[in-house]
Symmetry: C2
DNA sequence: GCATATTATGCCAACGTTGGCACATTTGCT
DNA sequence: AGCAAATGTGCCAACGTTGGCATAATATGC
């Protein structure tokens, strides 16, 4: 309710002086400052952010754009929000699911003139869509963008899988299979790299399309049809959901985990810690990813240089050991 | 980049006329309008929201405040966001976890002068905290507030549990136990109401404090120590996590689900659909809750009456049938 | 005591939009 | 033709903050 004007009147000084007292910039008598600050407090002065944005032609909003909200996004957003808020920015969420206005997402973002944008990559935003960020000249960061010209924070999937496979080998597993699709190279490459190092031949269990849990169950069926001697004794699943489905199918068929087969998932969804046995999995440092994204965004906003190196950042995963492996 | 001024210059009319052309309010020659609209399009006119907010003294932001992001919040936020965006509002997220600035959450909200606030109730925001919303005079809605003076959208937990128990009885279960704490009355009341109707005596399995999954496992231990004849053949768990822990413990002890014991959870977390067997559970209509909250907020903002009835809304749950019961 | 920094304060315009008001033009009616 | 109503357009002030500039008061150096 109270603006600079009211505070000025109450303290018997001009608006300009109130500004100086509150912003701490420029010369000001310390007694005057104290008097003004007291009055501001008493009157409950709150700067009008709209007026400030109008005048300074810059905003303190960051738009976070995602196709849909996913459990995996949340921790990232939390880290992002925390960091940005510390820096005085507010986080604005735009969910671009099909159900929404149908307007163009970027147009929607630009309308709000945010100081920056964070985009969650997904099949809907891949490249053609996301590349438009470059034209917009807005400071931006993309979560988990595919390799390309976009600045992005990513996790090292390849390395994550690599380490998981080595862990399985270290715990005495002889035949380690990869349950996934050929589409995602990074995970597959990690698997192949590890097997190469172990001088073993890869074993593929193809993941069916569609629902991942169902695909896991389907895979367990094919698995159980193998003669016992030829069954892998460890499976690295493309994602937690696949791994959980696979485990469910194994339970159904009386195959024991981890004694008969060890299973490792990927993502560390909450469900991985609530299954039986609890699923060992490769976790992303989600909160840290969010923080890293925020920091990049803030540096971009400040206009710090380093254009040559780009702003991408890849972070390591962490193997979360539970009972399934 | 282009403002009303530029569009006005390009179309050879005054700013005021451009406004009329674009807002569609007041008299305007249709040819002029067309010309102006064309120019606006060509120049990529985007209204300056800050200027608008400043001038009209109202904003089109809604602050969503939560202590932390939770899987269960997301779907609600999605529904909320969708509805609010349709109405021209943007959703602003404030996470008030301990890690944050330490500033007062309400102060933070007020600083942004949102058109309204949606608060996710939690132990941190219970009553003393949330009641301050009333003083703020801001349009607000609380998700899942405890019974009290606050306008809120809630689910009918009592009825949800009631129906779940009746379902268990209908499928031939004779001894239906309640695994939970005495603290939460609504669920317990639903259980008691159902048992009363069935003329059966309640069976309690006390849920330990702390981690819910662990509490479920602990409960399964006590359960398995009962002589077989005295074991309940159905368990209604306070929450999915408890139920999942309970199931895990039963697996460990060779007790079969659902043949020996049926288990029903509460919440329909994602993990409930990824367990083995998949957990039957009481689901909240999350998206609809979000939409309902948004609608209430919008009506409050519009200043529609009905102060006598309040704005609370309770919505029914839905029993999601899976294999665990 | 005077000139010159230094410190302290105030005035004013501007950001882009909006709404009140006034003016100009056209239409409809007697 | 005359007058009122309806239609079309423009001017101007204001929202609260900010930054440039000017002025006033005090301190510093000779």
């Amino acid at each position: 309710m109270a603006g600079l004007k009211e505070v000025a009147a109450a303290s018997g000084v001009s608006i300009r002086t109130v500004m100086r007292a509150l912003s701490g910039q420029g010369y000001i008598d310390s007694q005057t400052r104290e008097r003004v600050v007291t009055q501001a407090q008493r009157l409950g002065y709150r700067p009008n952010l709209a007026a400030r944005s109008l005048k300074t032609a810059r905003s303190f909003d960051i738009s976070v754009v995602a196709w849909s909200m996913d459990e995996l996004h949340i921790a990232k957003i939390a880290g992002l929000e925390q960091t940005l808020r510390h820096a005085g920015y507010a986080v604005n969420v735009l969910l671009e699911s099909a159900a929404n206005t149908g307007g163009d997402w970027l147009e929607n973002v630009l309308l709000h003139r945010p100081a920056g944008v964070a985009l969650f990559s997904s099949s809907q935003f891949h490249n053609e869509q996301a590349l438009r960020l470059l034209d917009s000249k807005l400071p931006y960061i993309v979560f988990d963008a595919p390799t390309g010209p976009l600045d992005s924070v990513r996790i090292d999937r390849q390395q994550g899988v690599y380490e998981a496979v080595l862990y399985l080998a270290a715990t005495g597993r002889r035949a380690i299979a990869y349950l996934g699709t050929q589409a995602d190279r990074s995970r597959l490459d990690g698997y192949l790299r590890a097997l190469g190092q172990l001088s073993r031949r890869p074993i593929y269990i193809e993941q069916a399309e569609g629902d991942q849990y169902a695909a896991g169950i389907a895979a367990s069926q094919r698995f159980s049809e193998l003669p016992k001697a030829k069954r892998p004794d460890a499976v690295l699943a493309y994602a937690d959901e696949v791994g959980l489905g696979f485990m469910a199918g194994l339970h159904e068929r009386g195959i024991r985990i981890p004694s008969d087969v060890a299973v490792i998932g990927f993502d560390d969804r909450r469900a991985a810690a609530l299954s039986w046995p609890r699923l060992t999995t490769v976790a992303q440092p989600s909160r840290e990813l969010g923080i890293a994204a925020a920091e990049i965004l803030l540096r971009k906003i400040k206009g710090e240089a380093e254009p040559s190196t780009g702003w991408s950042r890849t972070m390591p995963t962490k193997l979360v050991l539970r009972e399934s492996a």
